[in-house]
């Protein structure tokens, strides 16, 4: 017992030296990077995936299942469902599966491939599963939900972010100021993918 304690202590001390070393390296990096170069690198790290500074204007009309919808495409064209899938699992763009189960996406995960498991296999449970979403909403309603969940669920105090809104937030971190979470094209792609979910 005593010996193992000493052994463990020694191991822990070694681990400590390692982490302390890492901390120092990080501190040095930070010091070196006080200048412009790293400020830019940092900017890249949070909103770096082509988040748009331009948001499309859109017209709200009366919905069927919820009060409002956006019946026309934000780009005037229909989206690409294959790209939509990509945005939905992307950690910095849609990241929809962080909160929603989508069985069709989960089915893409190969159990023996860690990368595909991490991309498609794990989903959150904050929002409702999106299976059968086209039975519950029109395309225009789905578009509004993704563009501005707060307008779609007005009383819900919803946690779902508004993906196509760039202003009116509180204390946005510098790298993301003036940007929306997804572009009009990306929204249309996601809507197109959702329309394939039965």
């Amino acid at each position: 017992m005593h010996i193992s304690r000493i052994l463990l202590g020694a191991l822990a001390a070694m681990a400590f030296v390692l982490t302390a070393g890492a901390g120092e390296a990080a501190a040095q990096e930070k010091k070196a990077g006080a200048g412009q170069a790293v400020a830019q690198k940092k900017k890249k790290s949070r909103c770096k995936d082509g988040q748009p500074a331009v948001v499309a204007s859109y017209k709200l009309s009366k919905g069927e299942n919820i009060d409002l919808q956006i019946s026309e495409s934000l780009t005037g064209k229909s989206g690409d469902p294959k790209a939509g899938l990509k945005w939905m699992v992307h950690r910095r763009l849609g990241n929809c599966i962080a909160c929603h189960k989508v069985s069709k996406i989960q089915a893409l995960a190969k159990p023996d491939d860690l990368k595909s498991l991490r991309s498609y296999g794990f989903h959150g449970e904050i929002g409702p599963p999106l299976d059968g979403v086209t039975d519950r909403y029109t395309e225009g309603e789905i578009r509004l939900i993704v563009v501005s969940a707060k307008k779609a669920f007005p009383d819900a105090y919803t946690i779902m972010p508004s993906f196509h809104k760039k202003e009116g937030y509180n204390r946005v971190i510098k790298d993301c100021q003036g940007y929306a979470m997804m572009s009009a094209q990306q929204i249309e792609d996601v809507v197109a993918y959702l329309m394939t979910i039965k």
């Binding site: 909103c47 794990f122 449970e125 937030y169 509180n170």
Partner: protein
Amino acid sequence: MNIRILTGGIAALTALGISIGGALAAEGKKHSIKPVAGSPLEEVWSGYRFAKPTTNQMQDDDFENPGMTWYDIGEANWSKKDGEAGKSCAECHKTEDMKGVGARYPIVDPKLNKLMNVEERVNYCRKTYMEAKPWKYDSNDMLGTVIYVKAQSRGMPVNVKIDGPAATYFEKGKKFYYQRRGQMDMSCAQCHEKYYGKLIRMNTLSQGQSNGFPVYRLKWQKPGSLHRRFKGCNKQVRSTPFKTGSDEYMALELYLAWRGTGLGVETPAVRN
């Protein structure tokens, strides 16, 4: 160092005659306790409950708990002379006097009329009595010393004062907690009050309780202060964080401690 022999605070709890919902103390960490009057929560859970079983095992065994390495740093610091005055903590305090500090802080110091957490207290003593330089919140010296001090209260129920001079800080912290922020437009409450216990991609949301801080986080490979955690949660929703030790985070710390009233102090807890 008999604190290491205490298994998860059982002894501390029985010694104090406190029983949490009648459960065994070891289980007390796993079972919910009743919230304090006025709490928005129906049940209060430590982050212990939402961590992986293997992570809990590390926490339960002081020989395995990697946070205890920093406890040792704190213990060494306790009697180390520092600063112009050439004094150490031990010259003014007995370790036993620290019992209860981890459960009742942050407090409003009546002389300074200021809300203080343990980190601020440590730096106050260093400055005033030792004439030593302040430590940064997440330096190894500060983490070690805070862990050493708070661990003296392990198993004791969190119980902070929120009336009198603390009331305005409490209200400020509460407002912070419910304020949406960042590009994702989320509040603390949305994740930790409304959806605790649910998965957010690969993480299970806890109630975001503060009773185990500084916690050793496996992801960090190091213990971290509560204010570091606040910064992380702010940045996660793409909001500009505040500074460690800022008035905003100090008030939030008080409010959060109140939400966890009755939870046993677990410092240094281990989290995923």
